[in-house]
Symmetry: C2
Subunit: 198 residues, 2 copies
């Protein structure tokens, strides 16, 4: 008599996901209905599993399946440098470069007075806690290159430098492979300020 | 030591879905990880449920949760007309117009020699079976307005008309709210051929 309640519910749950509108949700649900049963069950299990098994690393607040995250539990990493990022996904971006071998610390956001997020809402106290034993010599701040990211970087440098720890920031400049004519003047100004000897 | 296997598996399963690439999958999985546990569990349950509860209506091949689908089990529908569609999702499009009160029949595709799909691969035999008792007076063919859809419509009209059943087709023409200048010549020609008295 009625439309399928199960389809309606699946559509509703998919539409909640970021970037999924009604059309995408419908396409996915019909795809699941047309595919073999195992495809839907595998997806459902993967969702349950990722939520049940993954938690925050108590040291750096990255996602972790074991007690500590992949980087914190890796004894081959350089423990003298900590890269500070906004979100766990940023760790993946940096890891893919293969150029950073230190540890990480996830803030869980950035200082944003507009959104009511101050230093106390971020994992800054825990970061300071990791610096007190003197083993960390450098904190590389890899927050995003926008107002909030810069503000957070400056805040961190002000409270960390007094502890005798070097604070660095990712370089700003022209994206590799990009033309000068497409660079905005702020980026170009940064690229000039940060020019390197060849 | 390793990256989270659960995250990798969830990413992989989401990337399998239509319209979901690596970036969207990552956005969704991180959204699930950042949200309360119930959101992920509700989604996982909805996926299992839609696949476990929904099957094909044995009469019209629409999706159904009960024995028959919503339309076939509705005794208020006009049983003298059957609208033939390619896929179950097309039924939703037609239902939303509120202009069709008859029954449906889902072909499960269209005749497409290029893809090796002939009449025997579609639910055409079952459609003919629904016409033999003489209660159906009209078959409205609502396949898509492309080569395969038109071919299928012509094929159906050739085999159904000899049974003494009227075969109709959705009108082609200018989309409502659209400008003439954007209509292609084939659509415009169809709109002229199908012109109505005012």
């Amino acid at each position: 008599m009625r439309e399928s309640a199960a389809i309606a519910r699946a559509l509703e749950e998919f539409e909640r996901l970021p970037g999924i509108g009604p059309k995408s949700a419908q396409r996915i649900v019909f795809w699941l209905l047309n595919n073999e049963e195992s495809a839907a069950h595998r997806l459902a299990d993967a969702i349950r599993e990722v939520k049940d098994l993954v938690h925050f690393c108590p040291r750096c607040f990255n996602y972790a399946e074991d007690e500590l995250c992949a980087q914190c539990s890796n004894t081959d990493r350089d423990t003298s440098v900590i890269c500070v990022v906004e979100e766990p996904r940023d760790i993946g971006s940096i890891e893919r470069t293969g150029r950073f071998k230190g540890l990480y610390h996830v803030l869980g956001g950035v200082i944003s007075p507009m959104d009511g997020i101050g230093p106390d809402e971020l994992h800054i106290r825990e970061l300071i806690g990791r610096l007190v034993d003197g083993s960390v010599q450098e904190v590389l701040v890899a927050t995003n290159s926008n107002v909030e990211g810069e503000t957070t970087a400056i805040y961190l440098s002000r409270i960390i430098k007094p502890l005798g720890v070097r604070v660095t920031r990712l370089a700003s400049g022209i994206p590799v492979g990009s033309d000068l004519e497409f660079a905005d003047e702020v980026t170009l100004a940064r690229a000039i300020e940060g020019r390197l000897d060849l």
